[in-house]
Amino acid sequence: MVHQYKLNGYNIVLDTASGSVHTVDEVAYDIIALYKTHTREQIVGEILQKYGQRPDVTREEILACISDIEALESAGKLFSEDTYEGLAIDYKNNSKVVKALCLHVAHTCNLNCSYCFASQGKYQGERALMSFEVGKQAFDFLIANSDTRRNLEVDFFGGEPLMNWDVVKQLVAYARSIEKEHNKNFRFTLTTNGVLLDDEVIEFCNREMSNVVLSLDGRREVHDHFRRDFAGKGSYDKILPNFLRFIEKRGDKSYYVRGTFTHNNTDFTNDLFHMADLGFTELSMEPVVCPPTDPYALTPEDLPVLFEQYEILAKEMLKRKKEGRPFTFYHYMIDLKHGPCIYKRITGCGSGTEYLAVTPWGDLYPCHQFVGDEAYRLGDIWNGVQNTEVQEGFRHCNAYSRPECRECWAKLYCSGGCAANSYHATGSIGGVYQYGCELFKKRMECAIMMQVAEAEEA
């Protein structure tokens, strides 16, 4: 499938099935748009009618451009055929591996953020901390079900995982003690609100955690609007010094400062620029996911504003990079030369199959977003997945499983998107969260434009 768009002065043509990216002038842009539906003579006629006054647009020039397009088509870089659908089904049917766990070590939190999808860490249930014994069994379950996969990921998640810090440390020690004998390489992530992020935690994280996700929504007034303690006091002044101390000692290891934007701050780029100006360089900012009836839910009217914001962000990032003060935005990270293979692109996030969430009690869910929804309980870490009917639903999620995705140019970039978002928006994991799709497509257009801009300047 070919997708054409204009952004920041660039005319960009994507050939999605091959992953090819072309930057073209406006004449070639129009010829490509006509190429599959018009004869050569019709194309010549239409292009001459539009550009005939220009000395560089002659019949010969137009025919030469058509020949170039034919050459790219023959080389499989334009109008290439998408033949991957069968691969997605076969790959997920044949793979019974679990390779990643979201470990809910604490269903409790020391903040009381009203927008929390996990209802202040409790996931619509009781407050609880995971015991070492349950965590240990989760690691044993992961190893037993990971077959020959070497890289295994565990995200210490909550609630607030630092409220169960001793168990986190014990579990890391346990995992390190068994990984060699099983030929595994554990990669740990910790997601924290920063309230308990002291020097001892920082030192441990810098030694053991491949990635640390720090929750900050941006400007003080934006952050403190939702991210408050149980007394109602904003947490910005409490957590910011902790985060700054953390990145000072982090060196070149991965971290993300991650925020959520809502209807209240549709100018979210100002929050990202605030983070960057504070010295954070690895940033992520996500649209809030909540019922449309919530007062802070993103609205249809917000959409064009958000599109503009994503463009502002891309342009500012290019500018700051030139000025020698770059920052990374998670959703604009795209490596056109070394990115994921086709299997990754079509099989999705792996929720419910290779990626599972584990509650403090050892129950298994398709991912953190389904925890607390009894209908989606898959089983437990002692007996494995027993609700195979629900799991089959997740196994069938891929880039082609939703009718809306079939004609979408972005499906090999999102792989059909987030099953939880689909479920919350439509009541079915096989549905489509259209609002999220629109934002995703805009982000991809911006991310690829940035790659084009940098290639053009190289």
């Binding site: 170039d68 999808f117 070497r150 996500e286 056109l336 070394h338 792996g350 290779e354 998107g417 987030c418």
Partner: protein, 48 residues
């Protein structure tokens, strides 16, 4: 090609044969917990 410039990219058609090792990061496991995408994951397979 005068009017068309092609950016160097990985040809994903070529990864049908050697891809699929599954060693790459799970896409929703880091700074994205609500708006999953797959494209920003690095490939761990040098042959793919």
């Amino acid at each position: 090609m005068e009017r068309i410039k092609t950016i160097e990219t990985k040809n994903i058609q070529n990864t049908v044969k050697n891809g699929g090792c599954g060693e790459c990061q799970t896409s929703c496991q880091s700074a994205c917990k609500t708006s999953c995408g797959v494209i920003n994951q690095n490939c761990e397979n040098k042959n793919a």
